[in-house]
Symmetry: C2
Subunit: 331 residues, 2 copies
């Protein structure tokens, strides 16, 4: 697999440069390019900050803008941003009401975000929400160790909208923690990930194989299985998700089919059709849908299915206006 790149060393910086050039109406670089932040910050609104390794674009930089994130920092490929980058994002984005940091549940990210928060604890009010929507890492029913994957988008959108409405830091923390418990994601890969340094894939699959339960870092998944039809694959993802979460009374579902980087829109729509039919059979009311390439694992061929069970208030927050590079609607 070939890539559009110049050198592996400059790839992330050049991609970020292109992103900022193309989306100047929404974003600017922070000082020393340690973070990307909104062009226009809102005084006395809680700042919503996220970040993580590169290689997942458009997440998180594509979610910076009115209605979602205030700033995002990007590490090397599949590597947490440094505490210095995270501190820079906090300092640039905090306009007086404190910061909520949204962190995907990986050891490296947790460590660096905690370290950054400790280092500026005397100057900023901060809370963190940890996202852990991937059901496959630690096995069914076991909450610890689960990773943050595509469901992070849902958490960032809903917290971002709540912050825009003027909610206080502790309220946003509570909304985020509760929501995280009702978001589940599972992914499947048809190929490994091409590592920029070597231009080789992290794992290889023959024509009859697929990798179930993959994350977004090119690591092998939960099991290697026989490749099958879209209906069989998507049903397997949806059954696992539905077996891991129960429908709270009155909840409404958001169904999200996410491309992992190398999968074209036509296939994502076809997979969405299978996922939607599955949920209908189970009488799960799909009230909102999202289909597209939002949380990637470099050029991996594959997709994930996310089910988020939302309250009426969360549906209203999801529907609220958002103006970012990757998600944009007016109401």
């Amino acid at each position: 697999m070939k890539k559009f790149m110049n050198t592996a060393e400059t790839m992330v910086a050049e991609s970020m440069e292109g992103f900022v050039r193309a989306h100047q109406e929404f974003v600017v670089f922070g000082a020393e390019r340690k973070c990307i932040r909104r062009r226009h910050l809102t005084p006395n609104k809680v700042a919503i900050i996220s970040g993580g390794g590169a290689g997942h674009e458009p997440m998180h930089i594509g979610f910076v803008g009115k209605g979602m994130l205030d700033a995002a920092c990007v590490g090397h490929i599949f590597t947490s941003p440094t505490p210095s980058q995270i501190i820079s994002a906090i300092e640039e984005a905090d306009t007086g009401a404190g910061c909520l940091l949204i962190v995907k549940n990986y050891d490296g990210d947790i460590m660096n975000f905690e370290m950054a928060m400790e280092m500026v604890a005397d100057r900023h009010r901060m809370e963190a929400v940890i996202v852990s929507d991937d059901i496959e890492t630690a096995g069914i029913g076991q909450g610890r160790g689960r990773r943050g994957v595509a469901g992070t988008l849902v958490v960032e959108k809903i917290i971002g909208a709540a912050a825009e409405r003027g909610m206080a830091l502790h309220e946003l923390k509570r909304i985020g923690d509760r929501l995280n418990g009702r978001v589940r994601t599972m992914g499947v890969a048809l190929s490994g990930v091409t590592v920029p340094q070597t231009q080789r894939t992290t794992f290889s699959l023959n024509a009859a194989e697929m990798e179930m339960g993959v994350g977004i870092h090119g690591e092998p998944g939960h099991s290697r299985e026989y490749f099958s039809t879209s209906d069989v694959i998507v049903r397997r993802l949806c059954e696992t998700i539905c077996g891991d979460i129960s429908m709270p009374p009155g909840a409404k579902a958001l169904l999200f089919v996410n491309g992992l980087g190398g999968t074209p829109p036509a296939e994502l729509y076809l997979a969405y059709d299978a996922a939607h039919r599955f949920m209908e059979e189970r009488s799960i009311p799909i009230e909102r849908a999202l289909v597209g390439t939002y949380v990637t694992s470099l050029d991996m061929q594959g997709l994930s299915v996310t089910l988020a069970l939302l309250t009426d208030e969360e549906i209203s927050l999801w529907d609220s206006p958002v103006a970012t590079a990757a998600l944009r609607w007016s109401s």
Copy 2:
């Protein structure tokens, strides 16, 4: 290359089904599923209609909605829709002010759209705009035979916005014809296209090769060249484009980097960076940017660069609100 599909025969229908399910706020199927149209049509607005083969998603179905298309029809993979489908789109979308049909310049499409228009000429007022933005098909300087590729999005957005403003059919035809002459696209592929029936690629490239001047149907391009860095590849595309078009006085440029299906967002941003730098060096004023996967060739790894030289009025039409599955902004 594996695909998310059930059978090659049902692939297009299932993908369309998923698309309509996911975007019910914008679109509905027309009668007998011959076309996809806006959920809410506007009386006495000129209807903007497009269509073409499947395999280019989200084009054109993802452009149906307020501010862009009124209806789109989709043929088999890489195959024109039938006259019967096109007639269905005309009949469903015409609300009294006539129809403008936007047709990509391929023999099959031209033939079927012309046939459809002849068959209903006594009942509908119609004009057609032919899009031919691909500079590589017929060689530099030779206008005939050029294909319609990613620049079609620009034409559909600007005509769609003009129709929303209440412009008459003959005005829209004039706007479209003039604009088409100022839009140029060139593409490059790092892989062929996987044909659903065989799951094999249309052409194969080794690790040191790329295909320059490709279209969106998996056909080989203009020349096979040595694979290189993103900067070298993008510079080659931009030089060819700039050598084929001259800057009208006062024109403003829209620069559009489009993914062909298998290329992740991070690489598109990196390529955009190179294209933007090139245009800056040539003193071409980039006033608007678009980066993303909008006009695909199934799962082809590759991208195209489109340069559109716009008048102030066209820039204003580009900025006008649009609410479709693939393009959405409020102002």
